[in-house]
Structure formats: structure tokens, C-alpha cells
């Protein structure tokens, strides 16, 4: 397994270099750029413009810029943002990446499980009118024009019902009274989620070791998960900064719902297909013949096996989800990577735009790696 992860890491590193090269050269082969912004600003004299050009090092040759850039990427030195001059790009990305990770980890996990569960029951109840209806709804959710969906959600939940915050990622009136940096909370939230995840993993492995009864395993797993979650919630609840975390999570609900709606259908449809194929497999007939209850056949045998291609597809859809993220982030005023990317593009901020794009890519790459590892765990046929 470790060898496999190592191999994947090496592959990812190579991909990363190519990716960076593609991004860099594409960006730099485009016309326009900082010169255009400066030229149209009448408050600057030509001399002032000239000095800025020099300050940005835009007069160097492109290959030289790339070699430097590549070297710098691995030292997390992504250059200096034009629009946040002289803030380094990495500082901006480091600030915004956790927000995106938090939003997307939650949204993708939720949409995966929703899609998985609904795809499962769709396939199991094949031929019913409900299948037709949910497929159509799923496809509409999949193809709906995301901005419109978000507008409607904001209007309905935010303005009409008024139960969710309209946008932003925190409530300034609340945060006014603290010197806390939102960044810290984001990082702690991510840490909490990782810890709970780790606890779940450990309890899962422990459960496998301790008992052989599925029921007992489940109980051990659920109880320890519940304890871990309760501990986490308790810690946040008693901690003085708990309310700030809840504030952020509260603001996250609508964006997460949006991303979930647009991305669950993909998983659902693939799961349905995969499940339909799996149901035809002989081992399902065997499982039925063994006299296993319907639910066990569905969940333990069919769904568990049908899940594998769904996970593969899930990786492929990662780019799609991130794309949906740009829209979601910019419409919900969620200052993460997607919004940074859009705004920096509109501001013609080369270093920041390319940096954001590269880190979006790296994010996808690592998600890819994680899913690969999970896959290797789930499919015993893969033993590298």
C-alpha cells in the first residue's frame, strides 16, 4: 500500500509539473495583461507606469519567468499579486484555500452520500414511476443553470424565509467583538473534521479487529463516531470561540446545499447504472440464494460492489464540482479559491489567477490521491 501511495505521489508530481507548465504558458501566451490596466488608468503618468512594469519584472523573457516560476511553486513562492501588491500570491492562497477545502469537502461528501443512497434505491426499485421521476429531477438538477439555482436559493431561504444568511461567510456584527482571525477558525474546523474522520477510521479498523459480527461492528463504529462527534461539538460548544465556528458553519449551509444539488445527480446516475449492472452479477444471485434478507443483499452485496465504479467516476467529476464552486463562491460571497480565481482574472492579475488555478489543480490532484487510496482500501483486488 505504501509503495502504491508512493507511486501515485510520484505520478502526481510529474502531472503537477506538466500542469504548471501548461497553465503558465497558456496564461502568458495570451495578449493583454498588466499593461492594459495601467494604460487605462489616467491618474498614472507614463513614467509611473514604466516604473510599475519594472517593479513587476514583466520585462524578463518568458522562459526565464517560467523557470523561476516552477522553482518558486515548489517553495510556495508564487510571485506577487498585482492587485494585492506587494502581497505574495501564496499568502492570499493560504488564506483562501482552507475556506474552499472546508466548503467542498462537506459539499462533496454530502453529495456523494446523497447520490449514492438515491442511486442505490433507484436501481433497486427499477421500472417504477418514481425511478422515472427521480431520474428527470436528477438530470434537471445536474443541468440546471447553477447561477439561477443559487439566486433562487438565496431569494427563497435568505430573503423570503429569512432563515439563512444571505451571503458572506460570517456575521460581521458578531465578529466585531473579537480579535479572532476567521482564518484560525477555518483551520481549527478543518482540524476538527480531520480528527473526527481519523477517529472514525480508527474505530472502523478497531471494530474489524474486535468483532466479526456485522451488527457489533456497526454498533462499535456508530458509537465511537458519535462519541468523537459529540466530543468535537462539546469542545466547540464550551470553547469561547465556538460561536464563531457555528457562525461560519451556519453561513456554509446554503452554499453546501447549492453544490450538493448540482453535483449529487452525477453520482446518483452513475450509481444507478453501476447498481443495475451489479444486480445482474452472479454473486448477487448467490447472495439471494443464500437466503439473505433483501436489505442485506442490496446494501452489503450490491451497493458495496457497485460503489467502486462510482468512486472512479467521482474522481472524474471532481473538476466539475470545483467548477460549480467558482459560481457558488462568487454568488455567495464566499471568498475562497473560486472567487479569487474569478476576481483575479477579471482584474488581470496574472500571478494570482495562475496561482489560484494551480492550487485548484493541486487540490483536485490530492483529492484524487485520497480517493485512490480509499479505493484501494475498498477493492481487495487492488493490492499494490
Amino acid at each position: 500500500m505504501i509503495k502504491y501511495i508512493g507511486k501515485r505521489l510520484a505520478q502526481i508530481l510529474i502531472l503537477l509539473v506538466i500542469y504548471v507548465a501548461v497553465v503558465f504558458f497558456l496564461l502568458h501566451s495570451m495578449p493583454g495583461g498588466i499593461k492594459a490596466i495601467l494604460a487605462t488608468n489616467p491618474t498614472l503618468t507614463p513614467a509611473a507606469r514604466e516604473s510599475i512594469l519594472k517593479a513587476f519584472g514583466l520585462n524578463q523573457s518568458l522562459p526565464m519567468q517560467f523557470v523561476l516560476y516552477l522553482k518558486n511553486i515548489f517553495t510556495l513562492n508564487l510571485g506577487i499579486s498585482y492587485s494585492f501588491y506587494p502581497t505574495p500570491v501564496w499568502t492570499i492562497i493560504a488564506q483562501r484555500l482552507p475556506r474552499t477545502i472546508l466548503l467542498f469537502t462537506s459539499a462533496t461528501l454530502i453529495s456523494f452520500f446523497v447520490g449514492f443512497a438515491s442511486g442505490k434505491s433507484l436501481a433497486w426499485k427499477r421500472g417504477k414511476i418514481s425511478e422515472y421521476v427521480s431520474t428527470v429531477i436528477g438530470v434537471i438538477a445536474y443541468t440546471i443553470f447553477t447561477p439561477l439555482l443559487i439566486f433562487t436559493l438565496i431569494w427563497f431561504f435568505g430573503s423570503f424565509l429569512g432563515i439563512f444568511p444571505l451571503n458572506q461567510f460570517l456575521n460581521p456584527d458578531l465578529w466585531l467583538h473579537t480579535n479572532l482571525d476567521a482564518q484560525t477558525i477555518f483551520l481549527y474546523l478543518l482540524l476538527t473534521i480531520s480528527l473526527v474522520g481519523l477517529a472514525m477510521l480508527v474505530s472502523f479498523i478497531l471494530a474489524q479487529k474486535i468483532s466479526h459480527r456485522v451488527k457489533t461492528r456497526k454498533i462499535i463504529f456508530y458509537i465511537s463516531t458519535a462519541i468523537a462527534s459529540a466530543l468535537a461539538i462539546f469542545w466547540w460548544a464550551v470553547s469561547p470561540v465556538g460561536i464563531y465556528a457555528f457562525d461560519i458553519l451556519w453561513h456554509m449551509i446554503l452554499p453546501v446545499i447549492s453544490v450538493t444539488i448540482v453535483s449529487y445527480a452525477g453520482t446518483m446516475l452513475v450509481m444507478r447504472d453501476s447498481m443495475l449492472e451489479t444486480i445482474k452479477e452472479d454473486f448477487i444471485t448467490t447472495a439471494r440464494a443464500k437466503g439473505l434478507p433483501d436489505k442485506v443483499v442490496r446494501d452489503k452485496h450490491a451497493a458495496r460492489t457497485a460503489m467502486l465504479p462510482v468512486i472512479t467516476n467521482f474522481v472524474l467529476s471532481m473538476g466539475f464540482v470545483v467548477s460549480g464552486g467558482v459560481i457558488t463562491e462568487s454568488l455567495f460571497s464566499w471568498p475562497g479559491m473560486g472567487m479569487t480565481l474569478l476576481n483575479s482574472t477579471l482584474a488581470k492579475d496574472y500571478p494570482l489567477a495562475s496561482g489560484a488555478l494551480i492550487f485548484t489543480g493541486i487540490f483536485v490532484l490530492f483529492a484524487h490521491l485520497i480517493v485512490d487510496i480509499v479505493y484501494a482500501f475498498l477493492d481487495p483486488r487492488i493490492r499494490y
Binding site: 466479526h212 439471494r288 439473505l292 434478507p293 467502486l308 483486488r381
Partner: protein, 331 residues
Amino acid sequence: MKPILEVENLKMYYSTKLGYVKAVDGISFVLNEGESLGLVGESGCGKTTTSMAIMRLLAENAEILSGHIYFKGKDLLKLNNEEMNKVRWAGISMIFQAAMNSLNPVYKVGDQIIEAIITHEPNVTFEEARERVVNLYKLVGLDPKRIDNYPHEYSGGMKQRAIIAMSLSCNPDMIIADEPTTALDVIVQDMILKEMSRIQKKLNMSMIYISHDIAVIAEVAEKIGIMYAGKLVELSDSVTIFKRPAHPYTIGLMSSFPSVKGEKKELVTIPGEPPNLLNAPDSCRFAPRCPFATKECLEKEPPYEEIEPNHFIACFHPQNLRKQVNEYAKG
């Protein structure tokens, strides 16, 4: 001898857009305790469908039109799904055609067997179940160390053995073996068949073998049923079937089979191909290929009758067959 399974006039059709596919069309047979029955026929003749009907594992579009399947006196077709689940594996277990795919690739083989045991006998602890699996592995000639391996780590023959072990795991009264050795090489096939015969004798189980290969059936079954196009055309003990076949199809089948033993005989071919079962007519289904068919055969359905004790046949002209057969075989 007590009958363990009685199939009475079982009719099972698949409904399609174009009409009914008469997959199993009125078959009846009785299987006694400790007896082994072989069902022989070509692909699509309904032998697998029959076994699936017994297990009540039919496709969505399958309809059982009539008939009864009595297992130990209970009509399986009248049970609800939960009751049926209790019969499955504990009463009747099954060895599937494609052993390669009959095991779930994501679970350990041993666990899949244990799962069956624990489902049917909730009082058995995991350790006890595992102990039983070890014994079963020994019984079928597998190394018990293999219990914790995944299916893909087994070879074809080992998987087949594991499936046999699994089929025995709940001490069933009856096992249906559907083409248990088709995908295997001859040597392995030989070993498995011997193993199954031995176990069947040892545990005194009832067994239904299903195969297209009459030679395989000849090795293991005491009673043989010949199926053709959804019908059981001939049923008797194996010696009778081989020595005194009465149905023209059985006769054709016998003489078209090459053998490594005895003298090299000229092979006899049955002309034509099996019919399409979609909206099949109610006449003798073999009539179009039968060299002895008369007008009657093409119009009416021959009755399924006992022409001599324990020898059932569905043909209008079984009496004068022998002579004609001899003539036919000569030239």
C-alpha cells in the same frame, strides 16, 4: 424412499414485448431423499430456469403460470419472501454455473460462507461458524488457510470447491448444482465431480445436477431427465436412459456424443436447430427435427407418460422406436 422435491406441471414463461417466451412449459418430476437427478439439455432448454424457479430467484419478467413445487411437502410457490429465505440455503442450496462470478469479489471467501451460516443459524458464534468453515474446507479438499483470501486469489477449481463448501455450509437437504464444472479443465472437472459424488453419498443429500454434457451427468446422476425446448421429454434412471432411450431426441443426443472409450463410431447428427421458445406452438417441439415425426406430432402436444416403471417420456411413438432407431443408425 421419501420424496423430498416434487415438481408438478411447472409452467414458467418470460413475458416480453413480443409475447411469452415459454422457458419452462409444464414439467413434472419427483426427487427422493438421497437421490441424485441429472437434468440434461441444450442451452435455452429451460434447465437453469427450472432450478431458479425452485429457488424462487426468477427475473422480474418471469411469470409462473401454473404448477407446484413441493419441498418436503411445502409448496414453495406459496411462501412469502421471508419464509422462502429460510428455505434457501438451509433447505435447498445451490452451486452456480459460473463459479468465477458467484463469489462477491470484495469480501473474503470465508466471510461469505460464514455470512450464510450466521444468517440461518443466529445462535452460532463467529468462532463456531469459522470452525465449521474450516471443516468444510477440509471436506472439499481446500486448504483452510485460504479462508481469509479474497476470491481473486483463488484459482478456478478452488473457487468451485469453495462454492461447494458454501453450498454445504447450512447442512441443506438438497443441493442444486447448475453446470458445476463447465468452465473447468477436464482433470479438475473430474476431481470436482468425484468430490461432489463422494460428499453427496457421505451426507446422503439429494442432488440435482444440471448440465448440457450428458457424459458428465452419466458420471454422477442416478436419475436423468432430458429436457428439450422447455419440456422434459424423457426421465428415467440413468441406465435406462443410456441403454434403452425412447425419445428420438435422447437417442440423437446419445449417438451424437463422441467418446474416448470403445470403438470409434460414426457420429449421428440431429438436423436443424432448437426452436425459438417465443410463442412456441403447442405441439411436439422436437417434431421439426425428428426423423420419425408424423402429422400428429406437428399438430398435438404429446403426453408425458410413464411407458415403463419409472420411465417417463413425452412422445407419440415410443413403441416402434427401437427398430427405427436401429435402421437409422445403420444408414
